[in-house]
Structures are given as C-alpha cells and as structure tokens.
Symmetry: D2
Subunit: 419 residues, 4 copies
C-alpha cells in the first residue's frame, strides 16, 4: 500500500516580515536532559543488539533536572547543593531465553550515559556535582507485543507527526552557527571563560536582526567585573565581525542582557551551566531535531531524544522528514522545502498516512515523489543511523573536546575479562 504524497506550493519563510529563532546550547539544562536520554537510548540500543541481536522495547524519553545551588563570585565559587537528574522510562530489563533469565545492566547504562555525556560536553561539571537516579520499569506487555515479529517492518507505536525543512534561512543559520562557534573546542581554548550553557535567540523584524546571547561564564577565569564586561564586549565584537557579512540584514548583538552590573549581578558559574543554580530542565523542551526552535516554521512537539529508533515515529519521522527535505532541496529546483509526515499507529513505519510536501519555487513532482518513496523504503533500516552516529538528534554533540580519557569508565557495563 503506497502512502498518499501531497506536493504543494507554500510561501517562503524569508518573506515573512518577522522571524524568531532560538538555539539552546549543549550546556543548557534542557539540552543536558535531551543529551543524557539520547545517549542512554544509544547505549541501550547497542546493548540489545550486542547481546540479543535486536533492539528490544524501551522508551526513555523523560527526565527532569533539578538545578543545584552555588555560591559564586568573580574568581571564586563553591557548590552548596548538587544538581539532581531523574531519568524516567521503560525498558526490557529481563529476557527469558532457553529457559534462563538474562538481565540488562540498566543501572550501569544510565550511569555511563549521564557521566559520559557530562564528561564529554563539559570541562568543569564533574560527577560529584550531579546526583543521578532513575525510575526505569519494565514495559507493558502489549507494547512489547509489537516487537515480536522482528523480521518484518516495525509497526508505528503512535499516530504522530514528523516535521523537517531545508534550507536554513539566514537567520536560522546564524543562530545555529553562533552557538556552534562559541562551544567549539577551538573557541574554548582561546576563551576558556565562556561556559557551555549558551542560549542564542534571533529576532528578525523585516531587515533588522537582533541576536541575544545568554552565555554562562566560568567564574574561575573572570576575576573582576571589568574582565567580565570586557569579555562580553569581546564576544559581541567577534560575533559581529564574523556574521555581519553573512546575513542580508542589519545585525545587532546583545550579550547577557539580564545582568545588573551595578548590583554585581553577572552570569557567573562554577561549572559552565545555569543548572548549577536555579535553572531546572526537562527532556523535549529544547531544540528540535534540527538543532533549532523555530516558531515561524512548522514544528513538532515530540521529544525525539530517548525514544526507541525502531518504531517510535515521534523520533524517526522527525529525522526522516529532515532527510527528505534535504534531498528534495539538493536534488530538485525547489528553493525551500517543508516536509510533514503523519504516521498511523499499528501500521508499518514505512506506510505513513500522509506525506505533505511544501515547496517554494518550481520542482518536478515526480522526482519529489520518487525521493520520498526511496526514503520510505529505507525506513526499516533507519535504526542503524541512531546506533552508529547520533548527530541527528539535537545536533548538540561532539563540540567540546574530551579533556579526560573515558575508556576505563565504560568498562563497568562490560564483563571484565577473566584470566
């Protein structure tokens, strides 16, 4: 049964008089939650593949982070209360094979996911700053049932919508790139005082683009209010220098506008994230799978992070919709492409109810449909993408260098070798 594919013209997002674009950086409390459960999802998938030859049922797309408490001042600081992260979900924790029970080291996988992510994404946030707990219970029998016939195409777990578009508008591009730059390894080496919790907001009103950067700083590297002001100005100048010519708009940049410097209120942190003091987080409240929040674009509310890549369409369709949009944009004459895919619960994942393609400009409808059909055919194998690379979800990874070797740590989930 082939799915109905609709192709239609839509207005360009750049013709809107207004655009609003936001990106929460890797150190934002919501991004931490997303990153942690997506890492756990990947570790779980790999573990199931390695030990059972198939990705078993799980869903770990819920987590909450309660911010800690610190005392911090220029050049100085200490932790009063640690950050607390609770991961919530379902997973297959026992498998009965050939009459004996085989267990899944869920606790080790959680610890590896959280501490692994923290160690890779932060320079100054350490294990002793974070209390980790989890409530991951065995799944319900009926959902498990859906995984039974594994040779066939998996069935959609829900009626859900996936959304994607290409290309990024100039506003989107610059918001995205600013955070990537500020959180790159090179930048951190040059400006170690810039923390990992960076939120970039772009508001375009016709031909004026106002960028607001909320950027944690590392108190250990900022010893006085003058150094702090200097740093803010430096960052603003770097952004203006690098991005003014990349957007066809008048660019204005503001850094840490909530400061009240006359009262000594500055965005100082010990660890690089506002999660250390006062800011809480949850999964699914931050960037969409393309790395942005774009209220002037179609968006899905689905939290992709932590979901199972086999049949959870809230994850899969959002990634595939972006893939389809990219291919149509690259392989046809379309100037802009929007893709919305609607699953139907209980049907094979490669049979969406509707694939709705919005096009700016003219493009060959036949070519578009054949791209869609090719991607749908590849759908049953998409889980591999999530196993091998995980750049697709949140696009927040790998930007910080690994300051510490991590290999010894990971061994907790492995059987250590005998004699």
């Amino acid at each position: 049964m082939s799915s109905p594919i609709i192709v239609r013209g839509v207005p360009s997002v750049t013709e809107n008089p207004v655009e609003i674009v936001e990106r929460k950086g890797i150190g934002h409390p919501d991004s931490i939650c997303d990153g942690v459960v997506e890492e756990l999802s990947r570790l779980l998938s790999r573990h199931y593949m390695d030990e059972f030859g198939a990705i078993l049922h799980y869903n770990v797309d819920k987590a909450v982070l309660a911010g800690g408490r610190v005392e911090v001042t220029f050049g100085n600081g200490r932790l009063l209360e640690p950050i607390y992260i609770l991961i919530v979900g379902r997973a297959t924790t026992e498998v009965i094979q050939n009459g004996s029970v085989r267990r899944v080291p869920i606790g080790s996988l959680v610890m590896d996911a959280v501490y692994g992510r923290i160690e890779r994404n932060f320079r100054f946030l350490r294990r002793e700053h974070v209390v980790v707990d989890y409530k991951i219970r065995p799944g319900s029998a009926d959902l498990v049932g859906m995984y039974e016939s594994r040779s066939e195409v998996p069935l959609s777990n829900d009626t859900s919508i996936g959304v994607g578009f290409r290309p990024f508008s100039p506003t989107e591009k610059v918001v995205y790139e600013i955070e990537k730059m500020l959180n790159s390894r090179e930048f951190k080496e040059r400006y170690p005082a810039v923390g990992e919790d960076i939120k970039v907001m772009g508001v375009r009103n016709r031909d004026k683009l106002k960028i607001t950067v909320a950027m944690a700083t590392i108190a250990m590297y900022v010893h006085t209010i003058d150094e702090y002001v200097e740093l803010k100005e430096k960052i603003r100048d770097i952004i203006l220098d690098k991005f003014s010519s990349e957007v066809p708009y008048e660019l204005e940049v503001h850094v840490n506008t909530a400061d009240v410097l006359e009262k000594g209120l500055a965005y100082l942190t010990i660890t690089g994230t506002s999660a250390e003091h006062g800011d809480d987080g949850q999964v699914g409240r931050g960037n969409r799978v393309n790395g942005l929040i774009t209220p002037y674009r179609p968006m899905s509310l689905e939290a992709a992070a932590g979901k199972n890549p086999v049949s959870h369409v809230g994850k899969i369709y959002n990634v595939v919709a972006n893939d389809i949009a990219r291919r149509i944009y690259e392989e046809t004459d379309a100037k802009e492409v929007n893709v919305r895919m609607v699953s139907q619960i209980g049907k094979p994942i490669n049979q969406p109810q509707i694939v709705d393609i919005g096009i700016v400009g003219n493009a060959d409808e036949g070519k578009i449909k054949s791209i869609v059909n090719e991607e749908l055919e590849k759908l049953p194998d998409i889980r591999k993408k999530f196993l091998e690379e995980y750049i697709h979800v949140f696009r927040v990874f790998h930007s910080i260098s690994r300051y510490s070797s991590f290999s010894s740590f990971f061994s907790t989930t492995k059987f250590f070798s005998g004699k």
Copy 2:
C-alpha cells in the same frame, strides 16, 4: 515606548489540504503533570497574595511522572507499583520581614495541589495510587531581584514567544469537543466504563477527516471482551452521530486501534489513566494553552503550566495572544486571526518586541492595533486571571464531578483556629 505591531494577510488553515490536530485529555500522563503544576502555581500565587500582599518569585514548570504498574483483566485488577510524581522548581520559601523569618508551607501546597487535582479530575485514581515528592529550592538572587519594585510593571523574565489563534477550524473544534464530551460528568454517569485518559487525534486529508480515539476503560465496568467491543462500537457511533453533521468532511472514527483482541490486549485500566501502567509524563509535552496540539498552526514550545503569572512571558504571552486573537476575530471582519508576541527579557511585560498579527480576510488595521494596545495595557493585571480562574491554561479542568468533599483536606495549609 510603543511596541511595533505588524498586521499582514496569511492563508487560511482550512485551505491546507492537510490538517493534524491532537488533544490529550485530562487523564493523560502529560496532562496530569500540567494540571498538577498549574494547580500548584495557583495555590502558591494565592498564598503569597494572602500572606505577603504580592506574588513572590517562583517557577514550578517542571515535573515528571513515572507510570506505575498494574495487573488488570476484564472485570478485575490490582496495583503492583504506584505512580510516582516528582515536582521540580524554585520558590520563595522564606521571607524576612521586620527582622523575623516567615515561612511558606511549600510541602502542604504541593500535597494539596497534587491530591486536590487527582480528586477532582479522577473517579478511581486515589491518593494511595500516587507517590508524590518534590525538589523545590529557593530561587537565585538575581531573578528575585526582578520582583523588587512591585508597584511598577513587571519585567519579562525571558525572551520568549506567545502564540494564539482564532477561530478553531472545524477539525480543531471536533477534536476538542470529542474529548470534552467523553470526559464530561454527564457522559461519565452514563458510561462509567470510559476512563479519563482519552487522546483524540484528527487527521484531515482534504475532505476526509479521520478521528482516532485512544480511550482508557475502567476494568471494573468491563467484564468481558464482548462488553469491551460493544463499548468501543458504542463510543464510535455516538461520535459519528453527534459530529458528522458538524464538520464539512467525511468523518471516520476509530477507537483504540492498538488493541489486539485475539490476544486479549485491550485498553483496560483500574484507575482510568495509562499512567497506572507503562506511560510516563512530563510538563509541557501536551496541549498548548488553547487545549490543542496543532502542528499545522504556529505553536509555542513553552510550557505555560506552573509558571509565575507575574512576569513569565512563556505563560502570559501565550494566554494574551489567544485573547487578542479572540477579540480581533470577534470585533473585526477578520475571518481568521493568528497572533505571535515576542517579549524582550528585562523590559516591562507590556512592551513586547513585536506583535505580529496574521489575518485571513480584510480587517481594519487601526481597530486591530487598538485592540492590541488595549490588551497590552491590561497586561500588568493579568496575574489576577490566573488566581481567580484557571480555565486559560490547558482548558482541561472542571470536567469531572467532585465525588468527594475536599474541604477538610485543604485545611492543612491553613492555621487552624484556636479556642
């Protein structure tokens, strides 16, 4: 300083070939989370007003629900593991006035919020089914600083966007109304077997509207698979009867499509919610403030529930944008209205960066702008709306009758009277 107001023509949502609309009912795990923190927000606001004459700093817009575990079959069931809810946030818990410390009964307010909501929204979910905990710490000093000059207009806590539209399309209307009907007191009296966890999804493909209802049933009232099938058919027929003539589309209705009846897999519950077994929840992952999820409309990702109504624009602007849309729709010739409001952090809440109005049809721009300005002027008083009524957030309330008197319970936060 007056805010820039943009008025512009936009295409009608009903002209789209496709529409997707979802509503999570009051018993859905995400709705429980939203409901609980919004109730807590209201209780906190009232408490601060009563005891301190002003709404002090708080933000309780994070919570996670870990689903419980049950054994359930036709006519029968029991709880194996309770539901667990963790509420996370910040609040002012101590106020130093005239040299002495006054404390806020945060624990009692949390218990009242959770158990109060459960008792009002559910018939069979009871206190002993739910473990409640909270991590609500004192807020950071700088955020508290923003509340200081209380006689003035509060300052926006964030750069954020609020979204609203009017009127509901026929698809939106029918999705919304179906859940309201199924969860109404009258309906529950007639069909007590219908649980409170009801998710309605509408997918319109041109002139075909397919409604999918996922509806928990109460095992105690469903004794056999035949009764179950009969109930599903009855509900489908009622929906078709009542709504076929209300939409200009061919209406198709499916109930509980994930059932596998030949294996005995049916959507049975003890308590009326899937949270009892396997389904987890979070704040901000369900309905927007208009009660719907509408990926074919502009949407805000902001979680309104639990936020402070004084200065949290992620809450206020979403409500006001809907109010403005409603007034423009009612008071001008506009056929449809979209409103997007962008705040700027640190500026008075009645001075948004942009108010962007999309209009279908012709409407008097001057009239529109004066409506916007009137609503902006009223903004500083909006907190009262959240205190007196709370129909604005999620629109999920009051639909279930109060089976138990609740007055005695609420007294835990009050000083009991002396002699």
Copy 3:
C-alpha cells in the same frame, strides 16, 4: 541432634545499685519505622500464604524517616514540609508457576502498611503529612535457595543471638506501664492534648527512681503557656498517684524537661509526633521485642521488625527467648530468668548452637531443659504467631483506637470482584 542447653545462676537485676530503662512510645520516629516495616512484613507474609501457600523470601527490616517541618504555636500550627519515609528491602516480586509469571503487589502492600499503621496509631497524623517511597528489590538467588524445600524445617539465615528475660523489674514495669497508660484510648479521650510521641526514661539509683517523660502535646488543644504548664503538672501528678505505690522506691517524675518556657519553647506538635519537625527515625533503633530498652540487661542489637518470620533468627530467636523465659518463670521456682539463644547459619532453626539460661534462685534443671526442648520443637510453626497476632514485636500496637474505618482502603491489594 539436640542443642547444648546451659543452665546457670546469675545475680538479680534488682540487686544492682543502678537500673536504666527506656521505652519509646508508638509515636516516636523510631517506633514509626519499626511499626511500618513490621506491618509490611505481616502483610507480605499473609499475601504469600494466601496466593502461594508459603511465605516466600523477603526481608524489609530497613527504613529511614526524615522528619518534616512545621510552624507551631499554642493553639495553632501548619505543616511546611511533610515527613518522608523510605522503606528498603528485598522481596520476591515475581513467581513463575506453570510457565506464567505471577506478580506481587508490592507497592500496594507498602502503601497499606504505612497508611494503615498511621491511621491506627495516630489521631492527627494524616496521609498528606507523609511522603512514602520504597526501594524493595528482588532478593539474591542464593538466599532464595534456602527456601526451596519447604516441607522441612527452615534453615537459620544467619548466626545471630536472641535474648529474653522475665519478669520485668519494678523499674521496667513502671516505665512500660506509663507509656501504655498515656497512649491508651481511654487516656486520649480524657486528655486529647497528649500526643502519641511519648518517651519514658527511668533511672534508678539505689532506692530512688527518677522517671523522665518526653511527651508531645497537640497544639490544637493547648492554647496558652498556662494550659501547657497545667497539663504537664497534671500528667506528673497522675503518674505519681498511680505508680508511687507500685514501686518500692522513692518516685520522682519529670515531664518535658527540655522546655524553655521563658522563651516559649514547649513540646507542641500538630500531629502528635516529633517526626513532624526535626526528628528522624530508623528501624531497629528503638525498643527491643519486649517493648523496652534495658542497657542493664543483656540485649540483642538485632532489629526484629520487618524480618521474615520463617528463618530470620534475628527476629524469631528474640521472640522465642522471651517465651522460654516466661515459661520457666511461670512453671518453675526461678525468681528471674534470662535466656540467650545462638543460631547457626544454614542449620535448622530448631537447632541453635547454644541455649544459655541464667537463673536467679533455685529451679529444677530438668524441668527447664524440657521447657526449652518443647519450645524448640514448636519453632518451625512460629511463623503463624507473626501472621495472626503481632503483639510480640515491639509491643507498641493496638493502643490507639481506630478512629476511621479502614476497610475500603485495604481493598487496593485485593482483586475487586467482578460483575
């Protein structure tokens, strides 16, 4: 194989120049912990018997109570933070029988145990004052192994010692009786201001017996400092009246000696227990199984509460040692009797390593040994005692009337009846 029984003369405890005796009343935080896990133990045992025909492996002898926080003054008070109880242990939660899994409603049993105990033992402590959570995981395979051959005598789970003695000395008797009186239903009806958290300490120095009573009062019934002082004096007088003639010592009674009345510091509570504010608790830190703490007597450190009555000698032997002491005291000419029994891990519970009997006065050694052997023979059936009555552990039960019917609540663990 018969166990070695040693019978020997020992000095009388009343001849000591000093005696120290303590009793923590039913409302003390440690007693709450003991009571809650012992109740859970009883519910678990019954459940296993009813559903599986045998008491399966469990051990729930750990719990911690974190005191809440209140604001309280004469005539008035409110809860700021609830009490938190975490129950920790092991239990069999799944049984595979005839190829299908049968589950144990551990969560419901915990809720029933905690809330049931609270409702029976307190008048003003309510469910919304207490957050309950539990970490009860499946037991280790090797311990489970010990239960396999159920037709035989269970094997001791540990090398452990049980201690008992008879009769109570006059000091022990009066300490024990004072708490029983103050926490009796009749007394509470007459003096409702007396809370349930009552600690009685008796220190005898030769012929002077000083009784110190630390007694929570109910703020709602104590409106002024004068009423409070009056109540303390009344209680002191009642104790002197009733017990002066019952002890051959000069009796001195002090009530609430930690008060600092000139600063308004009095032992006021909302709920009747110090657990509401500042006082934490644990299992096994309060009364021994005879209801007393007696550092001038032999004592076992074992926490009896929460242990499994089948093979946990830390529970069984303490009860049996008291039974043996009682019988020897009643059936022979012994004036006082001490009993110490030592188990050996992995051997049948009716084959202790040693039974060591200390006797004051002369008694027929043959008769003593036959009593011991009779009780050892009955040991395999002792579990029934714990199922049917639970007066043996802590002796803290039944003293407060059941103000509320509790029957509806308990149904959560039962399958409710069908049509």
Copy 4:
C-alpha cells in the same frame, strides 16, 4: 555539682560459660552507613570550626543503604543496578552574621564524605556504583537554642547511656584482630581476592571457640570453583596458624558457611561488598564504638556515628566510658572494668546523673573516682578528638590503602583560589 560515682564488684566475663562476639568489617553495608555519616560529621564539624569558629548544630546519625544488583560468576561480573545511599539528618545550613546570610555547602560535604570514604575503604567500589542522595533539613529552633552560650559547657541533648569496658577478652580480641588482619593493606596486597565485606563471629562455649568468617571475594581474582575453595582453606589456615596460640581455647574456624558449592553458590562480588547485591544497611546497626558487638557485655543501642561531638551524649559518653575504662584498667589493679554513664538532658555534659563502675578484682576506689573526675573535667574539649582523629568511632578506618589520590576531589568544598 559533682556526679554520683558508684564503684562495685562484678563477675568476670571470661568466667561465663558462653561468649558471643561479632565484628562487621569496613565493607559491610551497616559499616558503610556508619562510616559515611561519621565522615560527614567530621567534615561538618571542621567546616563549622573553620568558617564560624564553633561547631554549630547538626545531627546526621541516620542513613539507609539499598543494596544494588549484580551478575557475577567466577572471573566475571557486571553491575545491573547501583547501590543507593540516602543520608538523613539536620544541620545548620544558613547562618546570619552581620546582617548577611552565609551558607554551608552541605551538598559538597555529603559528596565528599561518601565518595571520600568509598575511595579510601574500597579498592573496587567506585563512584559510578553508588547513587547518593540526602535529606538534610535545618534543625528545630529549640535544639538550636542549646548551642547559644558557647563559652560555657555544652548541655546534654538527651538522657542517654554510654557504655565501655576494658580489656577485651581473648574471644573479643581474636574476633577484632581477624577482621583487622584480613582488611589490612598488607593482606590485601598478598590476597587481593579477599573483599572488604568481612563479618567475623566468635561463639565460645566453655573452652571451645568457634569462629565463623563471612568474607566477600573479588570475582575478578577467583576464576574457578577450585580457586575459591583453595582460597577459603588458605584463609582458614592462616587464621588458625596465627590465632590458635593466642587464645586459651580450642579454636575452630569456618569460612563462608552459607556457600552451596554443588550449586555454584559462592560469595563472589565485583566490588568487595555484599551491598552490591541484596544486602541493605543502616546507621547504628553494626559495631559499637569499640569495634565489636558483644551481647554478653553491657551495650548501648545508641548510634554514635553521625552525631554532633559537642553535646550528643549518645556519642560522647560511649567514647568517654571506654576511655575511663581503659585508664582504670591501666592505672589501677582492676582486672576488668565496665563503665556506664548516664547523662541528664539539659544539664552540662560534664555532669552525668550517674557514673557506674563495675570492677573485677580489687582496685583503689579513690584512684578510680579521681580518674573519673579527671575525664569528666576534660569532657567539654572532647569534640577536638573527633575533629583531629576519628579512630574512636567504629574503629573501622584507615585499614585500606589509598589507591587513588583524592586531593583534587576535596577541593569542591573549598573556594578555589583566584588569579
């Protein structure tokens, strides 16, 4: 006011036909709890001294450990679920000095205490094996009141008893020494397969002393059942060799008697402690302050670990009673000495109600009383002992080498230095 001192003759413990002595080693779950809260107590005391010049109010004498879950076999193993430790107590977390609030980094102190202890006491138990949380709330006002006049002698916080004796009987000595030997650095280097969780039980029946050792082994170093059996025999032989001549009894030694080797059930661990699988723990359920559990001796039920060394007599008196016993034993002709001290709540700690001295043999009563009075005079300074050395509580420390440098970790509670 001088306290009544009673000196009287008592029978010798060695003349009893029976003795029972137990020692829980540093790796036992109860010892972990004791060690962790005592470490926290020491860190808190030091912190208060350093920052405020006085030890402020706290009491952290409650904690519960929920055992984890592992899969382990000869030569191999992995963690399924981590150990969970919850620390419960009261502490002064904010001090208002000169109008400004100074905060106590309670969270960092907890993390340092737990992870510090684990790293010093274990070779294979790592941070990622243990989830740590805490509920430490501000104390009640009236208890805080007792600390006010700091220049004076602190007042007893409770009516409580402290117990001590000297010398160890041969049975006590050998039980104590066996654990010390098995957990010594030298022994671990020679026999790395011996874990840290070692329980030694000695049961003497007249002239036969039966020692039972329950000893975790490290699966990584035990590759086969033959190696396991060999190790057990080796350990038994070493104990017999070393201790047979040190006791005037016939010595019998059993190692890991709960093994069922024909079923492959052996005491294997990954981390060296049974807390990794199935065994839970609590504060105050293990060794008394002299490092032993001795039901044939007078014992206090008080948990010394975690208590405040300023005024918590449940801690102080147990340590002082042992000090007094030691001095009387060393400085007089007494053959054995028992000491029991009873505090009175609200009175200076150096004014106990009674000091009751039991003596075996003849000793100069005047000399005894002067020793007691000297020690009582030194009492107000005893807190220093707990700050500088902490060998007095549990005597379980320092036995394992520090395999990892720990200095960097501890810096989390310190202000890091500026430029």
